[in-house]
Structure formats: C-alpha cells, structure tokens
Symmetry: C2
C-alpha cells in the first residue's frame, strides 16, 4: 500500500495550482484515480478544465459554490457553499475511490475562518493512510504545515503583471 | 498574436518540473502545441511520460542524451549530448511548430558551463516573439532571471525525505 502524502503548495508566487495540475498528470500517468476539488468558483478557466478532461475518466474535477470573496454581497451563502465543498472533499478522501485528492485554494477556508482549523487538521491527520492529499493556496497555516509531509513555498521573484504584461492564455488561465 | 513569455521555475524546493507539467496541461487544454525537452536522461519516469502521452499528439516529449553528471565516466560525451539537446530545443522554438517549449532542467547546462550563458541568453531574447518558453532547474543564473517574464522560486519548507518517508509513486516519479 502506498503511504499517502499530505502535500502543500503555498506562498505568494505563481505555480501552486499549476504544480498541483502537474501532480495530477503524473499520478494519472500511473493509472491512479484523482479527484480535484476547486473551492473558488470562477478561478479555473477553460484551459485547465479542458486539459484535465483529456486525462479521461480516472480524473474528476469538481468546482464548488459561488466561491467566497470579500466583495460578495451574500457572505453567509458563500461560506455555506465553501463548507459544503469541504464536506464533499472529506467524503472523496474517505470514499476509497481515489488515490489522490487535490483541494485547490483550500487554505483560504481556514484563513478566512470559514471552517475551523482544528476540524481540518483533525480530518487530515485521521484520513485513510493511503490517500495523497494536495492542498494549495496562500498562507498555509502553521498547523497545516506541521502535519504535512511535503511543503513547498512558491515565491515570486518576477511577475509579468509587474512589468506590464497582460495575463496570457495557456499560462495564467 | 500571443506574447510569448519566458517562465522560470527555480529554487531548491520540489515542484519545478511538476509546475511545468501543469503548464503543459493548461496550454494543451487551450489546444496549443507543446514541445517538452528533457535535458537529463533518467530523471523522468513512467508517470510523467505516460501522463503526457495522454494529452495526445499536440504534446511532444523529447528526452535527450545520456544526461550529464559529475559521476559520469565520459563527461565529454555527456556534454556533447546536452549541447545536441540544446540545439534541438532551439530548433523547436524557432520552428513555428509549437506555442510552448519546455526546457526541463536547462539551468544545469549553464551552471555547469556545458553551454555558454551568453549564447543561451542571446537565443532566448531573440527567439520568435510568440513562443512561450518554460525553463526549470535549480540555481537559475541572474542573467536568465533578468530576461525572464515570470520567475517563481520553489523553496523547501518541509520535505518527506527529511522526515523519513520514501519517494512515492505518482508524486515524486
């Protein structure tokens, strides 16, 4: 049986979700079953959705809720959607149907106190031992880092926006 | 016409090649044509090779040479192979056949002085303006960073080897 790793890609730099996509590709290459849960609606666009779909039925993508945002007019509804997404992710991890579950932008749920950090930590620690979980998002909390097996911080050294280049298809979205 | 970006994933942390794979997936999702050049033979294994093959004929993978290594018994031959791979990558970038060219582990060619940094920089700066180039590898030189549009440094916060966990299929390889 594989030892399921808890992997976190965090930091302010670009490449967190992108690296998670790369992990999905690699896992799928091994014939693993992957479930991707995207917690922020509208963040993912055509490129990645279409790209994942090419990997066939072993890879599932679930995009949840309205996304939560501080611009939202109905914060409570947004939070509810995010909590629903977390419940879905928990079920996926425990279902035995997947070898890897990606929780994209999950850190925000903790950082904005939409879900309880203790609940998340307890769930992750006690999850089935053979499931890889990949968490992305800025500002992974110390408690998350503490329980993780692999944490990479992505740090911006240079960013195209800062030098006046627009977001490019196939790169940013 | 798209503006081709020069993207560098560097740093000692994990996720550089993985993020490049994610970019390939996203670009392919947009129907872009991608050429991946892997400069170190033996680094890539079944998972990523098989994963990329699922993306169909718009994505090509070329693994070159014997790889170069300081353990090699025939360093000169290794360097020759690496230089040949660089020539191949240059042709790919200029061919008009690809929207994105990934040069995986390319930094090592510069850092170990297998190719001339000035040649590489000159080539990259003068390449066709609509081709994205993605370079990965530790220790990207200042000159490379200088000419790049997007540079992310991957920094190890926590690494499974250091806590006694073996490399896992689908994650590391």
């Amino acid at each position: 049986m594989q030892k399921g790793l808890l992997i976190i890609y965090t930091g302010n730099g670009k490449g967190k979700t992108t690296a998670a996509l790369g992990l999905v590709l690699r896992a799928r290459g091994h014939g693993m079953r992957v479930c991707v849960v995207q917690f922020i609606k509208g963040k993912w666009q055509y490129g990645e959705i279409e790209g994942l779909s090419l990997l066939g039925e072993l890879v599932e993508l679930h995009i949840f809720g309205k996304g939560f945002t501080w611009l939202s007019k109905d914060m409570e509804k947004d939070k509810e959607a995010a909590r629903y997404a977390f419940d879905f992710a928990k079920e996926a991890v425990c279902s035995g149907k997947y070898d890897m579950v990606v929780m994209d932008e999950f850190t925000y749920l903790i950082n904005y106190k939409i879900i309880d950090e203790k609940d998340a930590v307890e769930f992750l620690v006690n999850r089935p031992k053979d499931v890889h979980v990949v968490i992305t998002g800025r500002g992974a909390s110390n408690a998350l880092i503490e329980i993780a097996d692999l944490v990479t911080q992505m740090q911006d050294i240079k960013h195209p926006y800062t030098i006046g280049i627009k977001a490019q298809k196939g790169i940013e979205f």
